[in-house]
């Protein structure tokens, strides 16, 4: 469910074009470092969890980030 949440967020807010392949890294999706910093801060605010800098880099894939959110006990609001 976090994969869908993240791909929607990336399309609507971060303007990643087209259909997002969740197994691509953020670098491959052309999400720049400012946007990654912003995304990390946004997820921390949204879910009240910690996302460390080395857990969200250009090499991270959407699927990996979704797994991280799951493992930290994040809960998508209804």
């Amino acid at each position: 469910m976090f994969v869908e949440y993240l791909t929607t967020l990336l399309s609507t807010v971060y303007k990643v074009p087209g259909v997002i392949d969740p197994d691509k890294s953020f670098t491959e999706l052309e999400v720049d470092s400012l946007s990654l910093a912003e995304l990390g801060a946004q997820l921390e605010d949204e879910f009240g969890i910690a996302v460390d800098e080395d857990e969200l880099t250009g090499q991270t894939t959407v699927t990996e980030l979704a797994g991280l959110l799951q493992s930290r006990g994040a809960d998508i609001p209804a």
Binding site: V13, Y14, K15, E38, A41
Partner: protein, 412 residues
């Protein structure tokens, strides 16, 4: 009018955009300003403050205008980008007949991204450094209105922020005139933006006794030149004008609103916040502006005054206007409607002045009923809009720190 000076190419205003408390586009703002409808009202952002009312640009919907990009902009930048887009579309330049490398952006601001600084200072204090948004600096720093307009419209010329307090918008127009006369740009988007309606700024201005405290009747609080004036009303917004050389506008078939004939500036070097009571600095700026425009004082049919509604400032300006133009030149202060938009004020007022020239109508000074005993004999337009030809007009701006900036506009 007898223009003496022709060594520079004429510069004209071909586009106007604005976000103001009187309307979030130029047509709406101009209509409300001509109707003399005050916009001051209680503001929930200032609940509990000694002064809890403002002139707010509350009709502005950042997300509707800017989409998700709005999150990356402080409100002062949001207003500037919206105003710049409107101005460029109005000038018939959207999409760009221009060489982007030859288009400059000059956006004045008195305060910059205060709301962002305050929000993030709160997060730092309450939660720690980790909670500080990584976008804090690129949202808050004072150049970002100019920089973001350049980014948004793909312009590669100079993008500059100028800061002369409440004269910033007028200073930006003057510097834009220089860039165009010198041939360093072909088009300049020039204006001002401020969004400083926060408890901190309201409280700080109130501690200087600069604000009206008419809490019982906010809509009557912004009353330039009036006997019962007691300070200005804090406002927010942006205005951007498209300036280009007259020959270029003609070549692309655009009819300008007005010409930007001249600019003058000076510094009081008198006091941190008070104007020189003799108005010497302001008089110097006015003389320079008229000389730069190549017009005589007798050519001037309208003064859009800085007049914010403070007891001292309005009296000094009225004496200056009386001594320079006599009792029969029309004077208006559109701040009766809009309140004081700080760094955006001069740009919005120059835009209103250009519309007065274009349409032959002068908006009234809202809330003005009876001049203060200390207001010199001048012709303050009030009560209703006045129809009158305006071949040449002056717009004054003065700022804390003793900055004086005056533009002269005329029929194109």
């Amino acid at each position: 009018m007898n223009r003496r000076r022709q060594q520079y190419p004429d510069v004209v205003i071909t586009g106007i955009g604005m976000v103001t408390p009187a309307g979030t586009d130029t047509a709406t703002a101009w209509k409300a300003t001509c109707a003399g409808l005050p916009t001051a009202a209680p503001d929930a952002r200032l609940d509990g403050m000694a002064v809890d009312f403002t002139c707010a640009a509350s009709a502005f919907d950042a997300h509707r205008v800017l989409g998700s990009d709005a999150r990356r902009m402080d409100p002062f930048t949001q207003y500037a980008v919206a105003a710049a887009r409107e101005a460029v579309a109005d000038a018939g330049a959207a999409g760009g007949p221009w060489d982007p490398a030859r288009v400059g952006v000059l956006i004045g601001t008195a305060v910059g991204g205060l709301e962002t600084w305050l929000e993030q200072a709160g997060r730092l204090r309450d939660t720690g450094a980790r909670a500080v948004n990584p976008l804090t600096v690129p949202k808050a720093i004072g150049n970002m209105a100019a920089a973001t307009v350049a980014l948004d419209l793909g312009l590669n010329g100079p993008a500059l922020a100028v800061s002369t307090a409440c004269a910033s918008g007028t200073t930006a127009l003057g510097l834009a005139l220089d860039l165009l006369r010198a041939g360093r740009c072909d088009i300049v988007l020039a204006g001002g933006a401020d969004a400083a309606v926060t408890p901190l700024l309201s409280g700080a201005f109130d501690r200087l006794k600069a604000l009206s405290r008419r809490r019982a009747d906010p809509s009557a609080a912004s009353r330039p030149f009036d006997r019962q004036r007691d300070g200005f009303v804090l406002a927010e917004g942006a205005a951007v004008l498209v300036l280009e050389r007259a020959a270029d506008a003609r070549a692309r078939g655009r009819r300008p609103y007005a010409s930007l004939l001249g600019y003058g500036e000076s510094s009081d070097a008198y006091h941190l916040t008070s104007p020189d009571p003799d108005g010497n600095g302001a008089r110097l700026a006015l003389r320079r502006a008229l000389a730069d425009a190549g017009v005589d004082a007798s050519d001037v049919a309208l003064v859009n005054a800085h007049a914010t509604g403070t007891p001292q400032g309005d009296a000094v300006e009225a004496r200056l206007i009386h001594s320079a133009f006599g009792p029969h030149t029309a004077v208006t202060s559109t701040k009766g409607v809009t309140g004081h938009m700080l760094g955006a004020a001069g740009a919005a007022e120059a835009a209103f002045t250009a519309l007065s020239i274009d349409q032959g109508v002068i908006p009234p000074t809202a809330n003005f009923e009876e001049p203060g005993a200390d207001i010199a004999d001048i012709d303050i337009v009030h009560g209703a809009v006045r129809s009158a030809p305006v071949p040449v007009a002056v717009s004054n701006s003065f700022g804390f720190g003793g900055h004086n900036a005056v533009v002269v506009l005329g029929r194109a």
